[in-house]
């Protein structure tokens, strides 16, 4: 607690310090004139308003200020004697205050950033209401350092924070789905959380939870992200030209960031939705809070000792252990009776309705020279059904499909400041994965154990030069039980007849060692210029799969608010495992490789506006496709690709009543057919994409938000009739290519436009709050064409439209 009881200069400086701490001079005590104020007693803990023995016509009032609807104490709230505003104090980290008042004082004024002002009566030094003083959230947010802007560390980077992600209309609060409002980030299918970035395939992206790699990021292939947004501090997207710290990807890097601070108190959240519910808890245990003994704190709430720029401290370490735990589960199965009314069970029957479950448990804390985190994450998906496909020989004419996907990963990140500019990060990871699949009566059961250890050493040589070197070796044992037919080269195609394909039933066990290494340098030869050369090496599943990728980026600060930036580099990634498998694919395949070129300018306009304009070109060199030179090898590095584009992002941070952003992306993505040599639009090519996202706070408890999304239509192929395959009894498209693929992409669906809206209303109780939200998808009920469906004989084509107007609602209780 800061005490404003000293002479004018001291009051002034303390106030200034307090306000500066909040990041703005728009002072909470803006009408407080520094003057001599009555002395107050020394601070002392006081959980509830109380009065000490009056002396010389004054009383000392102690109390606590907190946010209404939670138990969160408000630090740096200002408590002011209404009729003598010179007499004021600020609350400490626990929200406690102690103010000396004349015995006749009648009112106290409470102010805190982000909250409505509250005036409360005082009588004989006692507040009119007992218990902590609860302030309601304000409609206008000053954003005084509450949301800490992350420094852009990559030349091409976009970040969204949790409070933004949670309320983007149409996203259902999903973290990765929220990224689809950024330029050139496109959903693979309307409604799917899966994304494509700058003309790359979805599988060319790589996802991290901090430094942990998760084997699959989406439930059921795109239903939602396996890590709930509540667990995250935010998401970073590196769509291209990223530094050598990240490898094994050519599309984009998506970094799901968990919070790295120790929760100050026990709190939680329970969400009840129509299709799923979740629970989240956080708190701390063991140890003592740093403020308990008044000692300084070392490394508390610290982020990584980046580039070893922190020096060792002898101050007491915050020795508490923070924890965060989450669990989610869908329950579509409860709607079984309803769904059955709409499903023709002669054609489609569910054995197991889609189920998605995930859990998270994260610990974090400090040690003598840095911070640590420990993780346990997992997710499971189940689905089984039987449906008519025309390829069944069963009596009911239906084919069976089923899947059970599960992963559990445990890991840690230990960051240490070794002193003298050295820093060390260790990140071991273990991962267990189950993939059980049944399709057309075949089963593939995979069990995988993977162990990885990332070790990175930072050195800050001077204020101008720092460097990072790291390695990430990986070992994996995969056991595969197969009782299945062999897929034809390139996967199933219309000629494919699963009942006549050769079947194998066997167990395969394989051990592999792969890994990556990197070296990254930050060099500031002159103040406005930052150079970031680096090199990354990737070793794939086979010894010959080794590439060394040089990368370079530069940032030049034109002024404090404007920076030019550019990046270039090679990027390698491992082919999909089915491609380079010795038993199934072609083990001679090389790593897939791409070259990125990125340039742009980013600006800060005023205190709340940001802009980012970028151009890019991506050259994909040797991606894997169906073999054309040696067909018996099934796959070859014979696909080339290219994409280029322009991106613009104009964003207003959450200040005042509204926040929002406008993003536009122009892109042209193509692939070269290895057989004909012709270039064609890539499957996910969408030349124009425009998003307008905005949120407005009507009151401190009520917010409305909106998202407008326009996209060019997806490429599609004109089907020119069908031909009857007498062997299978099914028609195939007449213009199918020789290898059974239909990738001409000689047409395009109509443009896609959708308006989604959402409103959130908080009902504040004393120590908890209830958030009610209503989300309306496709407000205008526009019939967006999301695909084309052909009649079974391909004689007719019919547009498939997306979802109509769909309202969803939910309830979130938090304390």
């Amino acid at each position: 607690m800061k005490v404003n009881s000293t002479p004018r200069a001291q009051v002034s400086s303390l106030l200034a310090a307090a306000v500066a701490c909040l990041g703005s001079a728009r002072a909470l005590a803006q009408d407080i004139a520094p003057t001599e104020a009555p002395a107050t007693a020394a601070p002392a803990p006081a959980p509830a308003p109380a009065v000490t023995a009056p002396a010389n016509e004054t009383v000392v009032l102690r109390g606590e200020v907190k946010a209404k609807g939670s138990t969160t104490p408000l630090k740096d709230a200002v408590v002011i004697q209404s009729d003598n505003r010179d007499n004021n104090v600020t609350t400490d980290a626990a929200g406690r205050f102690e103010i000396t008042l004349p015995k006749g004082a009648t009112k106290l004024l409470f102010r805190a950033e982000g909250y409505d002002e509250l005036e409360m009566s005082v009588s004989d030094g006692v507040l009119a209401e007992s218990g902590p003083v609860a302030l309601e959230p304000a409609a206008e947010v000053l954003r005084l350092g509450v949301i800490r802007a992350r420094r852009k560390v990559e030349v091409s980077q976009q970040s969204l924070q949790r409070d933004e992600l949670e309320r983007i209309p149409g996203s259902g609060g999903d973290a990765v789905r929220g990224l689809q409002t950024l330029p050139s980030v496109i959903a693979t299918n309307p409604g799917s959380a899966q994304i494509t970035v700058r003309g790359s395939a979805p599988g060319d992206n790589r996802f991290f939870v901090d430094r942990l790699e998760v084997p699959f990021v989406f439930h059921l292939g795109g239903l939602g992200t396996v890590v709930p947004t509540r667990m995250l501090e935010g998401v970073d997207l590196f769509p291209g030209g990223w530094s050598s710290l990240y490898n094994d990807a050519t599309g984009g890097i998506i970094q799901l960031r968990t919070e790295n601070r120790i929760p100050e108190r026990f709190s939680g959240q329970v969400e009840l939705g129509l299709a799923q519910s979740s629970v989240y808890l956080e708190g701390n245990m063991f140890g003592t809070p740093p403020s308990a003994d008044g000692g300084a704190v070392a490394s508390s709430n610290a982020s990584a000792p980046a580039q070893g720029d922190a020096e060792k401290s002898t101050a007491r370490v915050d020795d508490r252990i923070g924890y965060r735990a989450g669990f989610r589960r869908t329950y579509l199965e409860v709607y079984t009776p309803i769904i059955k009314k709409f499903v023709d069970e002669e054609r489609l029957s569910f054995t197991t309705f889609p189920q998605a479950t995930d859990y998270q448990f994260v610990l974090n804390g400090n040690h003598a020279s840095g911070t640590w985190q420990a993780y346990l994450l997992g997710a499971a998906d189940r689905l089984s059904l039987a449906a008519t496909t025309g390829l069944s020989s069963s009596e009911d004419g239906k084919s069976k499909f089923g899947l059970f996907n599960y992963f559990e990963t445990a890991g840690a990140r230990w960051q240490s400041n070794l002193g003298n500019g050295w820093g060390l990060t260790l990140a071991p990871q273990q991962r267990y994965l189950i993939i059980d699949q049944e399709f057309f009566g075949n089963t593939v059961d995979v069990r995988s154990n993977k162990f990885a250890l990332e070790a990175a050493l930072d050195k800050r040589f001077s204020s101008q030069v720092s460097a990072t070197v790291g390695v990430r070796p990986e070992y994996e044992r995969v056991t595969t039980d197969v009782d299945a037919i062999q897929f034809p080269a390139g996967g199933p195609n219309p000629f494919w007849d699963p009942d006549t394909a050769p079947r194998s039933k066997e167990r395969r066990v394989r051990d592999t060692v792969s890994g990556a290494a990197y070296f990254d340098v930050l060099y500031r030869p002159v103040q406005p210029l930052t150079l970031n050369p680096g090199v990354s090496a990737l070793r794939g599943n086979w010894a010959h799969q080794l590439e060394v990728d040089p990368r370079f980026s530069a940032r030049y600060a034109l002024s404090q608010n404007h920076a030019l930036k550019a990046g270039w580099g090679y990027y390698s990634q491992r082919p999909e495992a089915v491609y380079d498998s010795k038993d199934y694919g072609n083990p001679d395949l090389k790593l897939e490789r791409a070259i990125h070129y990125v340039g742009g300018i980013e600006s800060k306009l005023g205190s709340s506006w940001e802009t980012d304009f970028q151009v890019y070109y991506k050259n994909m060199l040797n991606f894997v496709g169906n073999a054309t030179k040696e067909p018996e090898k099934k796959y070859e590095n014979n696909v080339k690709g290219r994409s280029k584009g322009f991106e613009a992002l104009i964003k207003k941070q959450r200040t005042g009543r509204w926040t929002g952003w406008v993003s536009y992306g122009y892109s042209k993505a193509e692939r070269r057919d290895p057989k004909s040599g012709t270039w064609r639009p890539f499957d996910f090519d969408k030349p124009h994409s425009l998003n307008v996202v905005s949120a407005y706070k009507i009151t401190g408890q009520w917010e409305v938000s909106s998202k407008w999304q326009y996209q060019s239509g997806s490429p599609t192929t004109i089907i020119r009739g069908g031909r009857f395959n007498q062997a299978t009894g099914r028609y195939v498209p007449a213009n199918i290519t020789g290898d059974g693929t239909l990738e001409a992409n000689d047409d395009r669906l109509p443009a896609y436009f959708q308006w989604d809206a959402r409103t959130d209303y908080d009902i504040l109780y004393d120590t908890w709050k209830l958030r009610l939200y209503l989300e309306v998808l496709n407000v205008t009920n526009r019939a967006n064409v999301v695909g084309r469906r052909n009649s079974p004989d391909f004689s007719e084509t019919q547009d498939v439209t997306g979802a109509p107007t769909i309202p969803t609602f939910g309830v979130i209780a938090s304390f």
Partner: protein
């Protein structure tokens, strides 16, 4: 799939599941069974004559039932060294009444099985797609039998087209075994020029008993550098003579409730007479909606009243086909 776990395998599996869920809602739509134009649901190779005409063929159970169709037995796969004169190629078209169908034979493509592939699929053209077109393979139209099926007011016409294939002997040369042949055809109805195009893929192997021909094939494999006995074993397995399915009954049963709700059922003499083949069904109806046009037994909402017909074809996945037709007079 034994390499380090693909980061996209899970996605692929999930995608297959979800997309199949979505696709099945419309992929096998109800339109296909509605007989609104000409269809060629049946294509058969068979040997004509008596068992004596087929020197190397062993008489199989079920072949006798074809006597009324003046054929001896369906042949699948086609064996090398057989007298091509005994072969007939039969297409069966069905079309609405009054639409007389004609069939035009298209190009014949010949493919070579890629013995070198570790995944050679001997009954699947997807691995044998490279081939040269042959233009000189002649088809001699042997006979066409067009008849209106069943009773008054029924709008369906069945036409049987038989072709002799004198040039087939060239392709059945034992010195050039293991080709895969694909034949294009197009059936056109007289009304509105509606067509139904299709292709028939068939395999030509030596008779499993023809050791000389199989030695030729083995030598061919050796020339391709193949030491994979398993691949040859699969070829021999595929060369095993197939006994086609025998459809012995097609029956509609009128439901009790409305008189229009029917149960359709196809009866086979064993669904797997060879004990190595499975069967698939496909229904066509003159009107109404089917619950599942691929099921052995399905519901049929024969909307309206009067005679209605259902045509069913059964395939055994090894080239054997049979078909049947049934009618029912739906009362109001």
């Amino acid at each position: 799939m034994t390499t380090p776990l693909p980061r996209r395998l899970a996605f692929l599996g999930a995608f297959l599941g979800v997309s199949s869920l979505l696709a099945t809602c419309g992929e096998e739509g109800s339109q296909l069974h509605e007989l609104e134009g000409v269809r060629v649901p049946v294509a058969q190779f068979f040997l004509e004559g008596t068992p004596a005409d087929v020197a190397k063929a062993t008489k199989k159970a079920g072949c006798e039932t074809w006597a009324d169709k003046k054929i001896y037995c369906q042949q699948y796969p086609v064996y090398t060294g057989i007298d091509a004169r005994k072969f007939k190629l039969r297409f069966v078209s069905i079309s609405p009444e009054g639409e007389v169908a004609t069939v035009a034979m298209g190009a014949l493509k010949r493919f070579q099985v890629r013995l070198g592939s570790t995944n050679v699929q001997v009954n699947d053209v997807s691995t044998v797609l490279e081939g040269a077109e042959r233009k000189a393979w002649g088809f001699t139209k042997d006979a066409s039998n067009s008849r209106v099926l069943s009773t008054k007011g029924l709008r369906v016409e069945e036409t049987v087209f038989d072709f002799r294939v004198p040039g087939l002997g060239e392709l059945l040369d034992t010195k050039n075994p293991s080709p895969v042949l694909a034949l294009d055809y197009a059936a056109t109805s007289s009304k509105g020029g509606r067509t139904d195009e299709g292709f028939l893929t068939f395999f030509v192997y030596p008779d499993p008993a023809d050791t000389a021909a199989w030695k030729t094939l083995t030598d061919l494999a050796a020339k391709q550098g193949i030491a994979d006995d398993a691949a040859l074993a699969r070829l021999k397995a595929a060369a095993k003579r197939n006994t086609p399915p025998d459809l012995t009954g097609v029956s509609p049963k009128v439901g009790a409730a409305t008189g229009k709700k029917l149960d359709l059922e196809a009866t086979l003499v064993g669904s797997d007479p060879d004990a190595d083949a499975k069967t698939r069904l496909q229904w066509f109806t003159t009107r109404g909606k089917l619950g599942n046009e691929r099921a052995r037994k399905t519901s049929w909402d024969a909307e309206g009243s009067g005679p209605a017909g259902a045509f069913v074809v059964v395939r055994d996945l090894q080239g054997g086909q049979d078909y049947g037709f049934t009618t029912v007079d739906v009362k109001e």
